[in-house]
Amino acid sequence: MILTTKNLRKEVPSGESNLVILDDITFNLEEGKSLAITGPSGSGKSTLLGLLAGLDTATSGEIVLDGIDLHLLNEEERAILRKDKVGFVFQSFELLPSLTALENVMLPSELKSEDNPRKKGEYFLERVGLSDRQKHYPNQLSGGEQQRVAIARAFACSAKILFADEPTGNLDPKNGKLISDLLFEVNSETDNALVIVTHDQDLASQCDKKIELKLGKIID
């Protein structure tokens, strides 16, 4: 198993009492497989993804990622885990505006102190079809292009598992299709697991596994 969760619960303080955003989330995912998380807006999908990727901590429950007990790690250890094992694609791209497309893609390799970040960056940028935009800055790229850079960056992480939070949510249907195809296509060339949050039933049906959230709980 690449990912296992058990009785995951997330509360946030809200006034006097606590607001339960996620409750009793238990599932697992085999290595190299893909998982779709669906559900209406506000059902807790992004929160769950953040927990799974180690960007945030759960109130209670367990997460085991590639054999490591994520819930037992502190923030510094989680950072190292993210560096070694996790890739992430956001709905709002989250590129660094002061870096060019190529530099954005090189970033994960730099952080890992790999030998030739540039070669790897150029490779993945070509893989998403943006070789000719290497030197462009994010504000010179369209939304679809920015998301392709973000996907190249996620794959450049050489992660065991890749998380994508509504990667097509900010894009028009045509670009959305392009992005989701790209995601599956590049993913098929690696043995990464893929966890993808989406509204898109088409996209969800391409995944090996699917869970649906409603008001913070998994419904079958």
Binding site: R82, E94, E103, L107, P117, R118
Partner: protein, 811 residues
């Protein structure tokens, strides 16, 4: 509707804390400016009335003859008053005793300013009259020395007088040159009867004037035109007393502190309004898409800033008032009268300052904000760095304007201004040169390469930060160093155990027994300086008498508190020459190596000018205009002067000394020393609070400059952490980056401070400028510590939030 909306916006901004640093710096600036200008305004008023009283008028003309009277008669004075007095020294006889006294003969206009306090058998009383002919007033000491009762007969020259009253207080204390001798006041109409004034006798005539400024300056011009060599003109702005100088210099320091605090605050305001504008880009864009027109939006923001201005003025003026009343209460026991109410000038300065800050540092950002097209927001393009130069330029102009308003000197303003600009450019240039061209990638392999690449990448915003840090460090170092120098020079002028008693009129015979007496009482005594009177005549032009009597002494070694400014002190083997003070060199146009004749009571001496000295007249030790080589004076008769410190516990010794040596005049300057010391202590407290406030403004500036940079870093840190950078990694890298910025700014700040201190010492405090090594190591150390300390604080704030929360905050 606009008003309610803008008020809501205002309250929201205040609550969110984003306006805090801008508000705080504005309030701080207003507090310091209004506090200092209120204080100095009141201080100046009280001082000028004190000085006026000390001088005896607004203008004083000193001469050795009455030739100016003819000129004065041609003057057609409408609103001014004048008074004549003659000052001389003579021996006064009572039935049993005799005593040397300084005599002030005054006309009926005396006193022009203030009133005298006298005492007779029926008690003390105040008067604004001069003594009637035939009557004479004397001070307490003289009354005792002559064993007088009120109504006793007094003999002065060929005339007889009646002792009418004791002088408790006379307003024009600055009038007498023989201040050491006990004093007599008589009517000038009686002078001829005494036959005291003969050709060649030593008399000084004083002409005092009061009146409106225009007439006084008119009189001054006429006096200047008709003055002879040796005549002296003194006016209110030339208070040379050590107290006057102390207060004058601290006033300069207060104004300097105020200026610096304002400049620092202005920079902070500039930075925080930039930050404010950046935060409001999407807000403005949304208002525009919702159909608000430019006019309305402009109105909205102008109202917002009107509220800010009002709030800061109310708070700042309140705090400023408290500040000045605190300062005043520290010092008011030294002023005899209730301090006058301040004029409107401080209020004006404060409002002008706030206005300049608004228009120079806030308005440009807002007006740029209004240009934002709604498209930018839809494209999620919130970068705001393009074309910031016009805004920066506006800020610089406002900076210069503030400098000018506060210094009132265009050259000084330009010097400070260009100093700041040049040093900042040097620093930015150094950074550019050292770092070289940007390399590909963020350099996130290790903290050091990330730090260096960040420095390269953020050149523009780094330049602003360096500018801000440099200004903060440089200006606080200037304040620090100026206050330290000021205090140092004060402490030097009155060292612990400095002589608090002077003894004059010591004869050769008394000299040895007095030495024994003092040694017997464990009192350390300074040198016994021989004193004689001499007139200087030029050898070349014997008619050109420098008609003034100088106290002259002769010693082997240069006395302390004296500094040779031209020529050399007496060398071994050369037994000739005199050393004169730079004042008389200038006043009588005497130059190095001029051949001169010293005419003394018992013969003349031909010699030359060997050196010119600067004398510290503020010091409490015997000072001389003329010092000669001892071997020239072997045959000359003289009395001696010395000074010594009598501790509090041995005050009885002073009385004993006076009883033992009746012809010696002993007088104490203890009171004066105490007063100067007390004032210095109180002023020090005020100086320190100014220093504290200035440093606080500097800290605000450094903090807001950093905070501004961190807004841009927040997003990057979140993404780096998402990609697996640890908190430690980011912290280390930021620390390296900001330590470098701090180091560079610190060095530049030191350079600015050293230059600034040079000009301040030379032009504001008028002392000899020095080199201060401590500035050079304090700057970099403070730079690194403060900048990296603040940076650590901000980074830790970022690390407390999870990357997820950070990214959420971004959008």
């Amino acid at each position: 509707m606009l008003a309610t909306l803008s008020f809501k916006l205002f309250m929201r901004e205040i609550r969110s804390g984003y306006l805090t640093s801008m508000l705080l710096s504005l309030v701080l600036a207003v507090t310091i400016v209004s506090g200092i200008s209120l204080f100095t305004d009141r201080l100046e008023k009280v001082l000028s009335s004190e000085t006026q009283e000390f001088l005896g008028g607004d203008l004083k003309f000193e001469s050795n003859d009455t030739s100016i009277k003819d000129v004065l008669e041609t003057l057609n004075l409408k609103d001014s008053k004048s008074s004549e007095m003659a000052i001389l020294a003579s021996v006064i006889f009572s039935e049993e005793e005799m005593q040397l006294s300084s005599i002030k003969a005054v006309d009926n206009a005396y006193p022009l300013i203030g009133e005298l306090e006298l005492e007779n058998s029926s008690g003390t009383y105040k008067t604004t009259e001069s003594p009637t002919p035939g009557n004479i007033w004397m001070d307490e000491r003289l009354k005792n020395l002559l064993s007088l009762e009120y109504g006793d007969k007094i003999y002065l020259g060929d005339a007889t007088f009646v002792f009418e009253a004791t002088i408790i207080y006379e307003p024009d204390r600055g009038s007498t040159n023989f201040a050491f001798a006990p004093k007599t006041i008589m009517n000038i109409g009686d002078i001829d009867k005494t036959n005291l004034i003969q050709p060649g006798s030593r008399v000084e005539y004083n002409y005092l004037f009061t009146g409106p400024d225009e007439e006084i300056s008119q009189i001054r011009n006429i006096l200047e035109e008709n003055r002879n060599q040796g005549d002296d003109i003194e006016s209110l702005d030339e208070d040379d007393s050590s107290l006057g100088k102390t207060i004058d210099r601290s006033e300069n320091f207060f104004l300097l502190g105020g200026l610096i605090a304002v400049l620092l605050s202005a920079c902070t305001i500039g930075i925080s309004s930039q930050r404010f504008a950046r935060r409001h880009i999407s807000y403005v864009a949304i208002l525009k898409t919702l159909g608000m027109n430019l006019f309305q939006i402009r109105g909205l923001y102008l109202l917002l800033f009107l509220y800010t201005t009002l709030l800061t003025l109310v708070l700042g003026l309140t705090f400023g008032w408290l500040l000045q009343s605190n300062f005043i209460s520290l010092m008011d026991s030294y002023f005899p009268t209730e301090l006058p109410a301040p004029s409107l000038y401080p209020l004006y300065v404060t409002c002008v300052t706030v206005l300049i800050c608004q228009f120079g540092f806030i308005y440009p950002h807002i007006s740029k904000l209004l240009d934002i097209s709604p498209m930018r927001v839809l494209k999620n393009d919130i970068s705001f760095n393009q074309n910031i130069l016009p805004i920066f330029f506006m800020g610089l102009m406002a900076f210069l304007l503030l400098l000018y308003i506060y210094t009132n000197q265009i050259t000084l303003s330009l010097i400070i201004f260009s100093g700041v600009i040049i040093f900042s450019f040097i620093g930015i240039g150094c950074i550019y040169l050292l770092l070289g061209k940007s390399k590909l990638g963020l350099g996130a392999q290790d903290p050091i390469s990330l730090a260096l690449s960040e420095l390269r990448r953020r050149r523009l915003s780094n330049s602003f930060q360096i500018f801000a840090f440099t200004v903060a460090i440089g200006l606080s170092l200037i304040t620090f160093s100026a206050s330290k120098n000021l205090l140092g020079s004060w402490q030097d002028s009155i060292p612990e155990n400095s002589p608090n008693n002077f003894a004059i009129n010591i004869t050769k015979e008394d000299k040895e027994s007095m030495k024994i007496f003092l040694a017997g009482n464990d009192i350390e005594v300074d040198l016994f300086y021989p004193v004689a009177n001499a007139q200087i005549v030029r050898t070349k032009d014997k008619d050109d008498i420098i008609d003034r009597n100088f106290n002259i002494t002769w010693v082997e070694d240069l006395p302390g508190q004296n500094e040779i400014v031209d020529g050399d002190w007496f060398q071994e083997g050369v037994e000739n020459g005199i050393s004169i003070s730079d004042e008389i060199a200038e006043r009588y146009n005497l130059n190095m190596n001029d051949e001169i004749i010293l005419q003394m009571e018992d013969g003349s001496i031909e010699t030359y000018i060997q050196s010119i000295r600067a004398v510290n007249w503020e010091s409490f030790s015997p000072n001389f205009f003329v010092i000669g080589h001892p071997s020239l004076f072997k045959e000359k008769s003289s009395t001696h002067i010395t000074s010594f410190f009598i501790p509090e516990a041995k005050q009885k010794v002073a009385a004993e000394l006076m009883r033992e040596f009746r012809t010696v005049s002993v007088f104490s300057v203890e009171e004066l020393i105490k007063q100067v010391r007390d004032i210095v202590n109180q002023v020090t407290k005020a100086l320190n609070s100014i220093l504290l406030l200035t440093c606080l403004s500097a800290l605000f500036l450094a903090f807001s400059a950093l905070q501004d940079g961190f807004d841009q870093r927040r997003h990057q840190a979140a993404i780096l952490r998402t990609l697996g950078a640890t908190g430690r990694f980011i912290r280390t890298s930021s620390l390296i980056e900001f330590s470098i910025l701090g180091l560079v700014s610190g060095l530049l700040g030191s350079a600015i401070a050293q230059t600034g201190v040079y000009f301040i010492e030379a032009r504001v405090f008028e002392t000899i400028p020095g080199f201060y090594p401590e500035i050079w190591f304090m700057g970099p150390i403070i730079g690194i510590l403060i900048v990296s300390g603040l940076c650590l604080y901000l980074v830790n704030g970022l690390m407390k939030q999870s990357p997820k929360e950070l990214l959420k905050l971004q959008t």
